[in-house]
Symmetry: C2
Amino acid sequence: MTFFAPASITCFFSVHSADRPYLSGSTGVGITLDLGARATICDEGGVRVNGDTWDFPTVDYVIEKLGCDCGVDIEMDVPAGCGFGMSGASALATAFEINQAFDLRKSFFELADVAHEAEIMCKTGMGDVVCQCYGGVVVRKKPGSPSRAVIDRFLWKMDLDLLTLGPFSTQGLLKDEEGVAHINELGGRYVGVFLENPQVENLFKLSRIFATETELLDSRMEYIVQKVEARGGLASMIMLGRAIFAINGFEVLQEFGEPFRASLGQSGVKCLG
Amino acid sequence: MTFFAPASITCFFSVHSADRPYLSGSTGVGITLDLGARATICDEGGVRVNGDTWDFPTVDYVIEKLGCDCGVDIEMDVPAGCGFGMSGASALATAFEINQAFDLRKSFFELADVAHEAEIMCKTGMGDVVCQCYGGVVVRKKPGSPSRAVIDRFLWKMDLDLLTLGPFSTQGLLKDEEGVAHINELGGRYVGVFLENPQVENLFKLSRIFATETELLDSRMEYIVQKVEARGGLASMIMLGRAIFAINGFEVLQEFGEPFRASLGQSGVKCLG
């Protein structure tokens, strides 16, 4: 059996840290993709990603938490560490795959909560798993684990052009208290602003303002975004990766690297059979 | 554009009626299928199902509630009126399709609530739409419209054999107060019993006891169910249809009609592009 969980990108967000992992998380707006991660249990121990052995603490945490002795083969459609939520997708798909393989009889939210906890404990994500439980554009209105978070969503038809420019470190960022306060103030406010006019242009506009005002958008990314806009497209920065998401931006993005295309995901984690 | 919503069958349930549609609904356990209904807006007015003009009040209600002047073409994979929630699936897919076509900018739960309200007002369903918002085996723990209901779910790998024996009238049933009280007592209790041991055999066992104890299972359906069981399969009655769902029952069901196969749906309503 194999389970799939979608990649997800965050447009803007607000961090909520708490003592307990199930109370920690984020609010904000994310976009799930039709690309993602597939997890399959295998006899050989350890975690492999696209055939290579990986040290993958977030997936190890899920395996240990569910109390199973197994290895996992993960296939990723998009690169890890660039803001596509691949640790969350891997953790989520692994939790469902183990549950099925070992007949653990755990529910959707029990499994999703384990994947969320793994992300929080391993500091690899704050809200991707909530987003990846669903399809579409997912608005996280109240933070917390999947069983506690309050969400709404939008099932649009949307094709995205995506470009990664390299890894992005969140370590420094999340230690800067003033910076985090500014992010939280803007991210929290923009959820409301988006819900007043939930459509594509507004989502890109708010993402762009968020990226600029938080100073997360570096000069190179800003140059690329402006160039996409100058040619009539929409673009902003993926939170938190050194990466761009765009509509009608493929040609411009090609000037700066090797972009790829994805559509809005219409489904969250699921069994592929 | 076309939107799809899954067919769903109910295993056992408990009815909750209230003054307001969004407070009305049901608890219980339902199964979404990978078959369902697809809705596409068209220039010609009225509602067509598989090419035929239909009088379809539940879909009309959605069109009127969303204030749009349009016709809808609906494609159904399974027959209406037999317990597969096709009115709910049609209403749900139509709501999302209209939202996209007329750029109404409504959210997932706003649209799903309209479809639920249409079902309640037209007396065509009490909980199918909540189920059809998600994939998998959906447990409705608290009743109400999709934005209010509390659910959990199970993404199993499951292939079902299905047989319809004819229409089933719920009109008489829901007027019998004592009968409804008995259904509600059992349906409410069995949600808890299922969640204590959420797996396939237990789901069929509880469905079977519910169908028998509520006396909804007529002698012909009981005969078929017993015959499937005698050959090592699992079977029960679809609520509320004169129809059977089974695992490893295809050959037996062939003796009584023209069964068809479906897999557990892994996704709720979605855009097909």
